[in-house]
């Protein structure tokens, strides 16, 4: 049975997936006091990578030193464990649902190369914005939203707002 002939399974109902997500989020609060997150770990991975090549630079910039200065390892942190778990859980689920394969998702009107350039650009913008906002869609919007933080709700609506404002101008990236 060749991998390529096997059709991926369908996604589950969004409300069911959301309910599952809600229970995971609640268990995070119940077991660790805090919610979910991804961007903190991403920042730490950046600092750890930098620490490999320019350790003195990490020690000098206060923002980085707080995470990985001196003998401290930036990735020895619970948020990084959660990120590794997210990766493993995503991979296991993709494997079970036959979605584990190398491919590029893109709109029909752009080339693979263009898609990757925009993915990188979007990622850089996202990474910067997530640090400015002190959290990403998971750490701020989901976790803060569930505990009714005003800042998180304002943040959440601005993410959607920013996306909708720009969507028309970049429609060629995604639509027919």
């Amino acid at each position: 049975m060749g991998e390529s002939t096997v059709q991926p399974r369908n996604f589950v109902n969004p409300y069911l997936a959301g309910t599952l997500l809600g229970f995971v989020l609640f268990s995070a609060f119940a077991l660790t006091h805090g919610g979910l997150g991804a961007s903190g770990a991403i920042s730490r991975i950046g600092v750890a990578t930098m620490d490999l090549f320019f350790p003195s630079h990490v020690d000098r910039v206060g923002y980085f030193a707080a995470m990985g200065g001196g003998a401290k390892s930036a990735i020895d942190h619970s948020s990084v464990m959660m990120l590794l778990g997210t990766f493993a859980g995503g991979m296991l689920s993709a494997r079970l649902n036959r979605r584990l394969r190398f491919e590029i998702f893109k709109g029909p009107r752009i080339t693979n190369g263009q898609r990757l350039v925009f993915a990188l650009l979007g990622g850089v913008i996202m990474g910067y914005g997530a640090r400015l906002a002190r959290g990403c869609t998971s750490g701020q919007a989901l976790s803060g939203g569930a505990v009714l933080s005003v800042g998180s709700w304002a943040f959440m609506f601005s993410v959607f707002g920013g996306g909708y404002l720009l969507a028309y101008f970049v429609r060629k990236l995604w639509n027919e």
Binding site: Y15, V24, F26, M126, Y128, T137, G162
Partner: protein, 398 residues
């Protein structure tokens, strides 16, 4: 009573394992929802596929109801739950920037991890981009430092903003989400009828949707009906956790320790004087605030005490130990961290400092200087104040 702190209670190894497992549940939830596919995420911004909105808000509402429902029944202590601090404007601007990154790149940080885990090349590249973007922020943080730290409120809840009870706010959020779900379904239906929408891979009857909505709404209403426990009921639920501190008298500080703390510029001291107005006007310690017991039920007042900086210390002053103890209990269960009681209140205050005048000046009893401690033997009191910090406010995003 929840929450527990796995890392503190069971050690780093088990703590890390739990974080890993929670992450795995998170990753799997995102993956089965289809969030590893950038086309599906981006379709949200063209109103064709509202999965992102539906899944996100279902997750938020389910977790929110579980948290406040458990809290109303006394299974979970909400004061111990980390609430994202509000930095209003940097959050809004950061959010707008992220919205731009989202529609250009097709992912957000969490979903790009899942996409990369299922070998989607655009997800892998996007993830690398987020690492670069986060580092760029670190390099340039000094340019935006003031803005980044402006418009700050520590624990600012929607219920505070609206002036509603927490239960009513939970109901409000649930109703809002259900309305959004209805609009999202109508929106998708419009594009399906036009023939440009995406197909649905699941079958579910309207009846099931109504049942689901009914369950969420009734749980929210029950949460509102029971109400969040007031400090007195909370003390009954939590007394086993904190009673020992009172029994061992570890939170009763000696007047001389008060003097030491008051003179310590590294401590932000808040003194709450619970005596009557007349007694307060006759004599009070410098900087003390005269408050009534009713103030301890005022959530706005208490939240200023609970969100003091790390070097904040709150000391209760009352001539009646029973009153002081009661106040301590009510403040403790509302999350006030470094909380102590002045032993014997002010009854023995004047006696202790009698005849301890300083060489060239009379002693001001309302503000004894540090020098006065030299006139007492070194073992005159046992130091009890230990600054504890809550390093939870930042959560996983820091």
């Amino acid at each position: 009573m929840l929450p527990i702190d796995v890392t503190a209670d069971f050690g780093k190894l088990i703590g890390y394992a739990v974080f890993f497992l929670i992450g795995a549940g998170f990753g799997a939830s995102l993956e089965v929802a289809g969030f590893g596919d950038s086309r599906r995420l981006a379709a949200q911004f063209y109103f064709k596929d509202m999965t992102v909105l539906k899944t996100m808000f279902t997750g938020i509402v389910v977790a929110c109801i579980l948290i406040f429902f458990s809290s109303s029944l006394g299974w979970l202590d909400f004061a111990q739950i980390a609430v994202n601090q509000t930095y209003l404007w940097s959050g809004i601007v950061g959010g707008l920037i992220m919205g731009v990154g989202f529609v250009i790149g097709g992912y957000c940080p969490g979903t790009s991890v899942v996409s990369a885990a299922s070998f989607k090349v655009d997800g892998i590249v996007f993830f690398a981009g987020t690492v670069i973007g986060a580092s760029v922020f670190g390099e340039t943080v000094s340019c935006v430092y003031d803005f980044w730290n402006s418009s700050f409120t520590d624990r600012f809840l929607l219920s505070d903003l609206l002036g509603w009870s927490l239960g009513a706010t939970v109901v409000g959020v649930t109703v809002m989400a259900l309305c959004m779900f209805y609009a999202a379904e109508k929106c998708e239906e419009y594009f399906r009828l036009k023939g440009t929408g995406t197909g649905m891979s699941w079958k579910i009857s309207n009846r099931n949707y109504l049942v689901g909505a009914g369950v969420l709404l009734s749980m929210a209403l029950i949460t509102w009906g029971i109400g969040q426990p007031d400090p007195a009921r909370k003390w009954k639920l939590l007394s086993s956790r904190y009673e020992s501190l009172l029994v061992s008298r570890d939170v009763f500080i000696h007047p001389l320790e008060y003097v030491k703390t008051w003179n310590d510029s590294g401590v932000k001291l808040v003194t709450l004087d619970l005596r009557s107005k007349e007694e307060f006007e006759k004599f009070h310690l410098s900087g003390a605030k005269n408050i009534e017991m009713a103030a301890l039920f005022n959530s706005e007042f208490v939240s200023t005490l609970a969100s003091l900086p790390d070097q904040g210390v709150v000391i209760i002053v009352s001539n009646d130990e029973q009153v002081a103890t009661q106040a301590w209990q009510w403040l403790k269960v509302q999350g006030v961290i470094n909380l102590y009681i002045l032993e014997n209140g002010l009854q023995t205050w004047a006696q202790i400092f009698a005849g301890k005048d300083l060489p060239h000046e009379p002693l001001d009893l309302a503000r004894p200087p540090l020098k006065v401690l030299e006139q007492f033997p070194k073992d005159a009191f046992r130091t009890k104040i230990k600054l504890k910090t809550k390093k939870r406010a930042g959560g996983l995003c820091s």
